[in-house]
């Protein structure tokens, strides 16, 4: 099981992700982004099947660590253009690309409380801890 938590940042929002493996970090990043956008954990929302939409994406990478930021910025793009909220997902890590199938909550624009400009590379690195991985990401808002 992974987790996300927030750390203080003067102007923007900092989130710490922890997970057993890399795919888990991606999964936690979806949940953290949902919280940043709505101020709620996805478990607090009743997700009706008819309000869900799935989007597949393939993100090529040169550097696997950076792919997490690229993935988040892909989600930010979808939120900004389609006004839907990422709430769940399945991530497969391939040799040169990430394949994702992300579930979005649609028709719930009113839940979006915050505009996210981007996930940044500020002091970004993925580190090992105990039996898992952790990272800190700063979002520009």
């Amino acid at each position: 099981m992974g987790s996300y938590s927030f750390f203080d940042h003067t102007a923007d929002i900092g989130v710490e992700l922890r997970a057993e493996n890399r795919a888990g970090l991606f999964y936690e990043s979806i949940r953290a982004l949902f919280f940043i956008l709505t101020g709620k954990d996805v478990n607090e929302i009743h997700l009706e099947r008819k309000s869900l939409a799935k989007r597949k994406a393939k993100i090529k990478y040169d550097n696997l660590d950076d792919a997490l930021i690229d993935f988040l910025n892909h989600l930010v793009f979808v939120v900004d253009t389609e006004h839907i909220l990422p709430c769940d997902g399945f991530i497969k890590i391939k040799r040169h690309s990430i394949r994702s199938r992300v579930t979005f909550l649609k028709d719930n624009r009113h839940l979006i409380q915050r505009e996210v400009k981007a996930a940044t590379f500020h002091n970004f690195k993925i580190e090992k801890y105990k039996n898992g991985l952790k990272t800190r990401i700063t979002f520009d808002i």
């Binding site: 950076d66 910025n73 900004d80 409380q113 505009e115 940044t120 590379f121 002091n123």
Partner: protein, 475 residues
Amino acid sequence: MVKLKKIGKSLYELPRENGMKVKGIAFIDEQMAVNSETNEALRQLKNVACLPGVKGFVVAMPDIHYGYGFPIGGVAATDVTDGVISPGGVGYDINCGVRAIKTNLLKKDLANRMQEILIEIFKTVPAGVGLKGSFVLSKKDERKVIENGAVWAVSSGFGDELDISHCENNGRLEGADYADVSDRAKERGKEQLGTLGAGNHFIEICYVSDVFQKDACKAYGLKKGQVLILFHTGSRGFGYQICDDYLKKMRNKRLFELPDPQLSSVYIGDHLGAGYISAMKAAANYAWANRQIITHLIRESFQSLFHTSYRNLGMNVLYDVSHNIARFEQHLVDSKELMVCVHRKGATRAFPEGSPDIPQDYKNVGQPVLIPGDMGRSSYILKGEPDSMLKSFGTTCHGAGRVLSRKKAVKMAQGRSIETELSKKGILVLSKSTRTLKEEMPDAYKNVTQIVDIVEENGLASKVVKLKPLGVIKG
């Protein structure tokens, strides 16, 4: 703590160390110099001083605070021949800036009308998260916005020629190439033109509470009691996407080792550097077009409420400043005139009288510098002073600067009604989000008076008028 050497009143030096190519200069007071938040931001400034080709010194303004990569309130000039361009030194909200619209109304003319004015503007100017502009950009217009900025907006009926002449760079940067902007950026910007956005973006109705320089007031057309509209927004999703696109490309190139990956850069002469500069100009033009359309919408609101034309209401643009941008400028560096790329992130140009880059109307005075404070205290209009050219690459502060994180601000606001507190001071506020109001409450910012006093003491800019808020719209 970062090593600081006091060299003057509210002036410190960050000596060169650990890979810094130049020293740092910080316009901060004694209280800020020992503050841990400021210290973290100065650490970021030291990282900026490690960029290849950085010239002279890097600068911290008194509103400096911790950002990502560059600190907010930071300035760095890089050599055009062997220096870099850094998207992190501009930020995601390219050409985020402030515009001031004058009126010939006095504070007393708005007595008991503030609520209806705010509601009308709130209805007319899309503000908040995920709102569309009043029109969708066609492919043809998209190209024109990218290439011509505010000039396109005015030629499309959203204002006057005078508006353009009262914008930095006349509301348009030459050299923006449509081909250097990704389809994603175009998609993100398609429905957002003419929108305010959220977070710290705002529209404020305010009045001149104090006059400091009569001559400058005459040149700027300002007087005590006069009502102005100040607003703050930028290039919206269009600019955010451009920054993201090019940072990713520069990060993949990994030309040099840098202390923070968000500082990824390429040489200005590099093909990718040229692509970013062109796309950054496109975003700057988008932002000017955005502020021009919002000007038009605000004027429409006033016309409908006061049943007369905006010209009769004297709603002329005083000035429009950019505080997140990189521009090529001639500066005196180590006693030599040099063309440099000045990165200003959360910092405003403050060109003095006689500068060729300021409007004819202000040439004998110096450019107006618009410094918004927080929504409960005050804002200032300053004028650029000659020392800014020697001490800060023609730059001054851009606002009050955050002092509390959003998390701390929300915690501090628990159990309080920010709207009621402001209303007791005679300031009405409208916002889509109560969370935004808490995050943006006055206590979250430094006192802007303390900030402008420091830039004035150091001769970067001087106070012309103080403005006090009457009504604020937050996105």
